[in-house]
């Protein structure tokens, strides 16, 4: 089972942004503790904070009946940050929750992933492990759920006439 990036998303993003969309989503969804632990092994270049990490909210919308017109379900906390590398790449981090360091690392990683100099390092030491952990967690849940699926059987009475 792999992380699903919906076709619609990819279309919205255009061909050029699909990869960026994927790593930004991975960074947004990963637990802050995991991101920060992996980040310890990353050597980051000089950068400048364009917008310091800030926590706010995104209103989560549901659909009437599950597939109809939207309605406002409730909000979720989100933290964002923007940085620029000395070489010019701008990184944007949007992460679930209120961890400012998580948003800062996401922004810095986004900037580095846009640079051919830093891309491979960040991919190998941050994005790939995060994605593997995500997939492993989802898979474990999926297998547990599958184990609770009811198998109906029908009692057939074999009565001799």
């Amino acid at each position: 089972m792999t992380q699903s990036y919906k076709d619609e998303f990819v279309e919205n993003a255009g061909a050029g942004n699909a990869a960026r969309q994927a790593w930004l989503s991975t960074l947004a969804k990963a637990p802050a503790s995991e991101v920060l632990r992996l980040w310890e092994d990353v050597v980051a270049p000089e950068s400048q904070v364009l917008r310091p990490a800030e926590t706010g909210m995104v209103m989560v919308r549901g659909r009437t009946g599950g597939a109809g017109n939207p309605f406002n379900l409730g909000e979720m906390t989100v933290t964002r940050c923007a940085v620029r590398l000395a070489t010019g790449e701008t990184g944007i981090g949007y992460v679930a929750g209120r961890d400012r360091a998580h948003a800062y690392v996401a922004a810095l990683a986004d900037a580095m992933l846009q640079s051919s100099v830093w891309r491979d390092q960040v991919r190998a030491s941050l994005i790939e492990p995060l994605r593997k952990a995500y997939d492993a967690r989802r898979e474990a849940i999926s297998r547990k759920a599958k184990a609770t699926q009811v198998e109906f059987f029908t009692m057939v009475r074999d009565r001799k006439a």
Binding site: N12, G62, A67, F71, V78, A82, K144, A145
Partner: protein
């Protein structure tokens, strides 16, 4: 009457709060609860606080529960108050619950629903006997949950999708995808309320209130003849488009519970008869709330479906004006705050009424005596 100044009491309040802190901590010989322990081990309380607090953040909800000494409406109030301090970055793309990574999905209506009946981590079928193993000091080993060799399908068809081709169930047409839905956090309650407004209010609504309304409906006060089409619980992807990016990213996979309740048939000269539906959706794992919400949602659709109901659950003003636990709790509990002036005014008025009553009585008595004497 002189105005009674309500001032002072600072020392009493400070001391009362200090005592509250002490009582909250309880016996110091017992280890203190951490927020993480509440988040992990009181997870359904956390889910309820997030749903009615209308803010998804398990750490904040756990902190609120700790601060409120486990009083969930108080914790919901704390979370609601906190959210007002944060800016809003925008709104998500409407979620697709059909794509949920399902942990539990049962249909009481249709045994052979494609994808099967998946029980997930449920209290159902437990015997409700207290488990004293959980009381053992030092805890006990939790045996790991069995895992299947197979995976769940990545997408489970919903009950609506299963019967879509036959038209047996009403559809959810997207008629107005551009119109931003009603937002009770920005606009006051207004009537008549459309379904988007009602669903938001119900999603934030008090679980106990909605449960009782749903129960009253089932018992005949505005029955909708519900049949549980489907309950599903699992993680749903939330997509959001930050302005500075210009494309959407996936922000989170949030656990949610959804209920689709099938209800009485509706049909007309133009429209073939089909099931109507009620809808429930909450953050976290909260089936009682999602089911109650779906029954009340359906009951409130009377106007649209040409039903003339007089029961409480069918009256949208009654339901929506009284469903919010923060408002209800605030209005009932404000009565314990100083009402000295009201009381003094009442007393004066009451004393005058009594004086007039006794005056009239003694006058009548005097008249009676006089008549008797004559």
């Amino acid at each position: 009457m002189a105005y009674v100044a309500v001032k002072g009491g600072e020392r009493a309040i400070t001391n009362a709060h200090a005592w509250l802190g002490e009582v909250r901590r309880g016996d110091v010989a017992i280890p203190e609860l951490s927020v993480a322990q509440i988040r992990e081990q009181m997870s359904l309380a956390v889910d309820r606080v997030m749903a009615e607090g209308s803010c998804y953040d398990p750490d904040l909800a756990a902190l609120a529960i700790k601060q409120a000494r486990g009083d969930l409406p108080e914790a919901i109030f704390l979370l609601r108050a906190y959210r007002t301090t944060l800016p809003r970055f925008g709104a998500s793309r409407p979620i697709e619950t059909a794509d949920m990574a399902v942990q539990r999905r049962v249909s009481a209506a249709f045994k052979d629903i494609p994808g099967g009946q998946v029980l997930g981590p449920t209290f159902d079928y437990t015997h409700r006997l207290l488990d004293f193993k959980l009381a053992a000091e030092g805890g006990h080993e939790v045996p790991p949950a069995p895992v299947s060799e197979d995976l769940m399908p990545t997408q489970l068809a919903t009950i609506a999708q299963v019967f879509a081709h036959e038209g047996l169930l009403e559809a959810d047409p997207v008629t107005d995808s551009d119109k931003p839905p009603y937002d009770l956090t920005r606009e006051p309650m207004a009537f008549p309320a459309d379904r988007d407004q009602r669903l938001q209010a119900l999603a934030r609504g008090d679980e106990g209130f909605l449960l009782s309304l749903a129960y009253s409906s089932q018992r005949g006060w505005g029955s909708t003849h519900p049949l549980c089409g489907e309950i599903r619980m699992g993680e749903v992807c939330v997509g959001f488009m930050p302005d500075e990016l210009g494309f959407e990213i996936e922000l989170a996979d949030l656990p949610m519970t959804e209920c689709i309740m099938l209800s009485g048939f509706a049909g007309s000269a133009e429209q073939a008869p089909q099931y109507t539906r009620g809808y429930g959706l909450t953050f976290g794992h909260n089936e009682r709330k999602a089911m109650s919400m779906s029954i009340v949602d359906r009951a409130l659709r009377g106007r649209e479906l040409g039903e003339e109901g007089q029961a409480p659950c069918q009256d949208e003003e009654f339901v929506l004006y009284h469903s919010d636990v923060v408002e209800a709790s605030g209005f009932v509990q404000h009565l314990k705050l100083p009402h000295y002036v009201d009381f003094q005014a009442d007393l004066q008025f009451l004393r005058r009424l009594r004086r007039e009553f006794f005056d009239a009585q003694s006058k009548a008595q005097a008249l009676h005596m006089k008549e008797a004497a004559e």
